[in-house]
Structure formats: C-alpha cells, structure tokens
C-alpha cells in the first residue's frame, strides 16, 4: 500500500513538472498562413490592399457583412463565440469595429492586449482613439487608422446665393450656433433650397455631444437633451421644408450632391468625401470645387474604424505590422492624406498638412486646406457617454422617428414604437414608465 502511494505521488509530481514546463516550450509561436479579417464594408479593405504588403505565403480572407440592422455585429458575435473551437486558419485574426459598439468587444475577452503582441501606442495617436479601444482597466485592444472630427460641408454656389458670400470664415460666422443655422435655413428656403438633405443629417452633431449615455448604470433608457433637441429641430425642419424625409444613406439624399442638387449643407468627417459624396465627384454630373468645409454650429465627431486584435489569432506579427503601417508609417499616412483625402490618426502627419500653405483638397473641395479645419477640431474630441447599444439605438430611433417625420404616425406612436423596438432588441434595458 505504501509503495503504491509513493508511486502515485511520484507520478503526480512528474505530471505537475511536465505541466509547468509546457508554456515555456510554446515560444516562439509559429505564425499562421491564413489571416481572417471581419469588416462591414470595403473602405479599409481598399487602404489595406493599397498600402499594406502582406507577408509572403499568407492568404488574407475578408469576411464582409453590411452593418444595417446589426447584421455585422450578429455575424461577428457568432464567429467570436465560436473562436475557441475554430481551427487556427478559421479563427478571426483581426476585426473592425465602429465607435457605436466598440466597447462591447473591447470590454470582452475576445480581444487581446496589443502590448502583448509587441505594439506600443505612439504619442502621435489621438488620445480618444486609444481610450475608445481600451477596456475599463485601460488595457488597449486595438488601434484606429483614422480620426474623425466632423464639420459642415457646404455648396459654395448655394451659399453665395443665400448668404451673398462663399468664404468659409463668413459662412462659419453665419451658422456658428443652431439659432443662426435655423435662420439661414429659412433664408435658403426662400431661395428655393434645402438646408440639409436628410432628416437625420444633423443627428450626429447632436448625439455625439450628449452629456449622458443612452443607458445609465441601472440599465434605464434615457433621452439626453441633445437627442430631444435633434427631434425638435427636425420637426421644425420637416414642417418648414428645410430638409427631406430621406435617411442619411438614401439615394434621395445623395442625389442632392449632384450639380443639380438644391441642398446647401452636408454634415460629415473626412471619410464622408469618399464614402458618401461620390455623386459630387461624378465627372459629368458632379460639382467638384463647389464645396468648402467649416466647423458648423457644434463641434462633433462621427464614426471611425478601429482595428481590433482578436484573441486566439496566430498571426500576431502580422497584426503588429498592420497596426504600425496605419498609425506610424509616415510614408503611407502621407499618401492617405494626399491621395485619399483621409484624416489619419497621426498628429505629426496631420499637423504638417495643416501648416502646409501649399496643401489643398482639390478632389472635392475648392482647394481649401480641410486638414487645417479638422486639425482645429480634432483635439477637442472626447470619448465619453458611449454604450455598447449605441448603434442599434441610434438606428432604431432614426427609423421610428422617420415614420413620424413622413407623417405615417404621430409622435407619441413613433416614440412607443421605438420603446417596443428597444424591448425586442435589448430585453435588459429598462424603459421609461414601465
């Protein structure tokens, strides 16, 4: 009996020794041959293919799902929940996330600490982009390749007709508060123009200045005064025909960017040019050079694409080099500003453009140095009052309110339809008066 116990004990010790040794043996990790990227559109794919040199022998797979109705998040969630069981080559290596829901992934174990793969955030990255990609303990899980301060992009010819000037400083002075903006809208209406082309055009200018999150610590849904202000403004705009009932992404709105368009102002950041304003850049029907950028009534930011490192990736070296390419590789970043009109996430690069008297955006604007305008706005961006529910709550509110603005339902019904939508989408959120 004693002998048996001794043998058993010895065996146990041996097992524990072997078990201890294991992690040490794993190094250095072998790099995978397949790199899977989840995304919701082709925007980053374009830059990736243009500027990043994929290591030899590695295949890059893009799994792209549109984000409408939360389809992208749904697909990504399924894949992440299955990540641990997936074969190495099927595992997600990197995925893209937007400001509206980045927290959901950053605060989970499905993303990994990028310092563990040897990447250190550079001082040149905008502070808010790092904060957005960090969990509650400040552990950073990814980087953003862009910074998204946003302003008002206006049609010069229409501004000339309405205000008698098309100079950015003078236009800005005419619309630097919402009261003034409304007054200009009335003037534009008199001349037969629309102030904006979508009922939700100004939504982000309000919603990204909220002083409280959509959902409080006790899971109560709350309406920030900024959201209420947006609803009130839009009611007035619809009633007076200052805007259209089209959604932000609808063809009815983007058709207004053709030379024949009758709309004076569009709200957007630098990515808006390439992503939303292709009609304005149309060689036959567009109006390149008839645009200028100003801050507008209220500084805000909109969107942004973060690249997050997925836990379980076997391509950590490639992850690190992608992050470096899009945050500190100044050759690439300079090209992205010059050729693609991006506002990149590197303060040195954008500062140089902002201060360069010879730089001007001629791809769509009239040669104005838009980087200088964005540079002035970018430092004020704060990352606060975000929740993991933002995308579907913002989308849902806009969709339900659109029916009210179109006149299909009254305001009360629209609001209650929104509550019902919240209840179906997020059962844990507590609704007002419920």
């Amino acid at each position: 009996m004693k002998k048996l116990a001794v043998i058993l004990l010895a065996a146990l010790m041996l097992v524990s020794i072997v078990a201890c040794k294991k992690p040490a043996e794993e190094k250095p990790a072998e790099q995978g041959k397949v790199f899977n990227i989840y995304a919701w559109n082709e925007e980053f794919k374009g830059f990736f293919e243009k500027y990043y040199t994929v290591p030899e022998g590695v295949t890059v797979n893009w799994i792209i799902t549109p984000s409408d109705n939360g389809a992208y998040q749904q697909k990504l969630d399924e894949a992440l929940l299955n990540q641990a069981n997936a074969a190495d080559d099927d595992k997600i290596d990197m995925f893209l996330a937007e400001a509206d829901y980045i927290g959901k992934y950053v605060d989970s174990d499905y993303t990994m600490d990028i310092s563990k793969i040897g990447f250190t955030n550079a001082k040149t990255q905008y502070e808010y982009t790092i904060k957005a990609a960090s969990d509650v303990n400040g552990v950073c899980k990814g980087v953003s390749f862009q910074c998204c301060p946003a302003g008002v992009i206006y049609r010069k010819s229409i501004a000339m007709d309405v205000l008698g000037t098309d100079k950015p400083e003078e236009v800005q002075a005419a619309i630097d508060t919402w009261e003034k903006f409304d007054a200009v809208a009335a003037m534009a209406k008199e001349k037969g123009y629309y102030m904006t082309a979508s009922f939700a055009e100004t939504f982000r200018a309000f919603s990204n200045n909220c002083t409280s999150p959509w959902v409080d610590a006790n899971n109560n849904l709350q309406f920030d005064p900024q959201i209420t202000a947006w609803i009130e403004q839009t009611e007035k705009y619809i009633e007076n025909d200052y805007t259209l009932t089209a959604g932000v992404w609808d063809a009815e709105k983007t058709d207004q960017m053709f030379a024949t368009g009758k709309t004076m102002c569009f709200f957007g950041p630098a990515w808006y040019y390439n992503f939303c304003m292709t009609n304005a850049m149309d060689p036959d029907n567009g109006c390149v050079g008839d645009w200028c950028l100003v801050k507008g009534p209220q500084a805000y930011f909109w969107g942004g694409t973060w690249l997050l490192a997925a836990t379980g990736s076997d391509n950590t070296e490639m992850l690190k080099s992608i992050f470096e390419t899009f945050t500190v590789n100044t050759d690439v970043l300079n090209k992205m500003v010059k050729d693609d009109n991006q506002y990149v996430n590197n303060t040195d690069v954008v500062k140089a453009f902002a201060e360069d008297p010879n730089y001007g955006n001629t791809a769509i604007l009239d040669g104005q140095n838009d980087i200088a305008v964005f540079y002035g706005l970018a430092n004020d961006i704060k990352w606060e009052n975000h929740t993991n529910f933002d995308q579907l709550l913002n989308e849902g509110l806009q969709n339900k309110m659109q029916e009210y603005f179109k006149g299909s339902v009254d305001k009360d019904t629209a609001m209650k339809n929104f509550y019902q939508y919240v209840k179906e989408t997020y059962p844990t959120i507590v609704l007002p008066n419920n």
Binding site: A71, K104, A251, S408, N417, Q420, E424, T425, Y426, T428
Partner: protein, 329 residues
C-alpha cells in the same frame, strides 16, 4: 405485398416485398427526424426558457414556464398586442396576393388547356409566366424598392404626368406598401399555380368535357360542374401550400421595408417578428413565436383541408359514375 414461393423441397417460402418499400423511405425519415422533427421539439422546449444574448453575454437558460407566451400576448406601449397585429398583417397581405393569384392562374390554366381555344406558343407563355418565380425574392424586392423609391422611375413618371405631387411617398402609406407586397407575391407565384392547375386539368378525361358540351352545358357550367369538382384535390393542395407559404411570408416585405414593416409595423409579418427575436438573439421568445406560427399553420391547414375536401367528397358522392383520373397527390 406478400407472395408465396414453393421451395425445391416442396415447402412454402413467403417473400415480403414490403420491406423494400420501408428501406427506400428510411433515408427520408432519418433526415426528417434529425433535421426537422427534433429541431421542432427543441423549439417548443426552448420556448419555456428565458434565454437570450445581450452582445456577447448570455442570459439563461432559466425555466420560466409560459412567461414567454404571456409576454407575447401582452400589449405593447401603444396598447396593441403585437402578435395579433402581425398575424392580421400576414393574413391581409396573403389574401391580397392570393386572390388575384388563384383567379388569374385558374383562368390561364383553363385557356391553356382548352381544346377549343388551342392557344399557340404555349411553352413560350408558360416560360414567361414562370419567370418571376426564378428571381430571388430579395432581388425582386430590391427592384421594387428602387422602382418605387422617392427618386425612382415610377415616382418621376407619375409626377411628370401630374398624377402625384412630389411630397407623395410610396413607403409612407399602408395601402401602397401592402399593394406592392401583394403585387410582388402575385407576380412571383401565379405562374407556378397556373402550371400546377394545368397539370390537374389535363389529368381530367377530355371526354367528360365533350359529353357535358353535347348535353348542352355552357362553359361556366362545365367549369363549375365538371372541372372544379374533379380538380378539387389539386386545388386544395395548391391552396394549402400557398397558405403555408403565406404564413411564412418574409423575404419580400423584409427587404422592401428594411425589416421595419413600414408604415407603423403594418406590413410586418409573423416571420419578420420572429426574425427580430432571432437577430437579438432571444431563443425563448423566438421559440414562443415559432410555436404560435406552427399552431396557426396547423389549424388553418386543417380547416381548409376539412372544408374543401368535405365539399369534394359530397360532389363525388353525387356523381359516382365520374372517374377521378389524374388526381394524384
């Protein structure tokens, strides 16, 4: 079927051919049990649990009994019991599409099979009317969405003609959105129904039509007294499959209204409601909605079958001399 064969030693050996029948149908039943029956029971089972995901966090499963069903039949903030509203939507949308679908299909089937009309180029027409069914419903929906959008060609045309003013929006009115959905379902399915009904009519003995005509029956009488009673089994089959398809109506309104069922959820169908819960995903509530849809389908299918087949039995009792050829189901 059993057959007896005499062995060489004189004893009888019985050979059962029936077993081959069972062997041949086994693969279907195995697949059916694995992929349909078991999931169906699991759906019912899931409907008794609170089980959903918020983001990446899973809540449940916790057994809650009939709580999910209770919730389904609780009024929403607007005071509407949504599942009833959506069931009514589904019914209205289906009837709006199915009535013209069956009337037109029946007429076309009669024309194409009529010996008197003897229409030329039948295969061409049959192909053309079947075409819309080959297009993916989502693509067809996108097409209508673009055609009827505020900047689409239809709006432009009607504005030019002075029929509409610019403020009109096809997607802001119950009548127009429901009309579009019904039109699409009609266009997609009338060809299919025509072909099935034609097969049914062609299975009827031509001499019956001839003798009815000789007896002095006009075409209306021939249709109601001869064609219809003999076509009933096929007709019931078409109606029940169309109805099941109708209850499951999803892709056309989902894509057309981007899942919102505009205006005010009046074009949201039961399966779109189910899809809302599947997206969340909320397994418990989705299970409960599925069970309700299953019950509705079962009850309606049973009622239609009973009603129509009883009528058909009466008819065939009255005319025992008429053979029921070609009524293969």
């Amino acid at each position: 079927m059993e057959k007896q064969i005499r062995r060489k030693d004189g004893t009888l050996k019985s050979v059962s051919y029936a077993k081959w029948g069972y062997i041949f149908i086994t693969p279907f039943f195995i697949a059916y049990i694995l992929f349909t029956l078991i999931p169906q029971f699991l759906t019912v089972y899931n409907s008794f649990f609170e089980h959903y995901r918020v983001g990446l966090q899973e809540v449940g499963p916790n057994f809650v009994g009939l709580q999910n069903y209770k919730e389904l039949f609780t009024a929403d903030p607007n005071g509407t019991i949504l599942i009833l509203k959506y069931a009514l939507n589904t019914l209205v949308l289906w009837v709006l599409g199915a009535v013209p679908q069956f009337v037109i299909a029946m007429l076309l089937a009669l024309f194409f099979t009529s010996a008197r009309l003897n229409i030329k180029g039948q295969s061409f027409f049959k192909t053309v009317i079947y075409m819309p069914n080959l297009i993916m419903a989502a693509a067809f929906s996108m097409l209508f969405f673009t055609l009827f959008s505020r900047v689409g060609p239809i709006q432009g045309l009607l504005e030019n003609w002075g029929v509409l003013d610019h403020s009109f929006d096809f997607f802001a009115h119950k009548v127009t959105v429901r009309g579009m959905i019904a039109l699409m379902n009609f266009l997609m399915w009338f060809g299919n129904t025509t072909i099935v009904l034609m097969a049914g009519i062609m299975g009827i003995d031509q001499s019956l039509f001839e003798s009815a005509t000789i007896d002095g029956a006009n075409s209306v009488q021939v249709f109601f007294r001869v064609t219809m009673p003999l076509l009933m089994p096929i007709f019931v089959y078409c109606l029940i499959t169309a109805m099941i398809g109708g209850i499951q109506m999803f892709d056309v309104p989902q894509v057309l209204t981007k899942g919102d069922g505009v205006p005010n959820g009046l074009t949201r169908t039961l399966v779109m409601y189910l899809n809302g819960y599947l997206r969340a995903p909320n397994y418990g509530m989705a299970g409960a909605v599925s069970v309700i849809i299953f019950i509705i389908t079962g009850v309606l299918g049973g009622v239609v079958y009973k009603m129509l087949s009883a009528q058909y039995k009466d008819q065939s009792k009255k005319k025992p001399h008429r053979e029921r050829k070609g009524n293969v189901l």
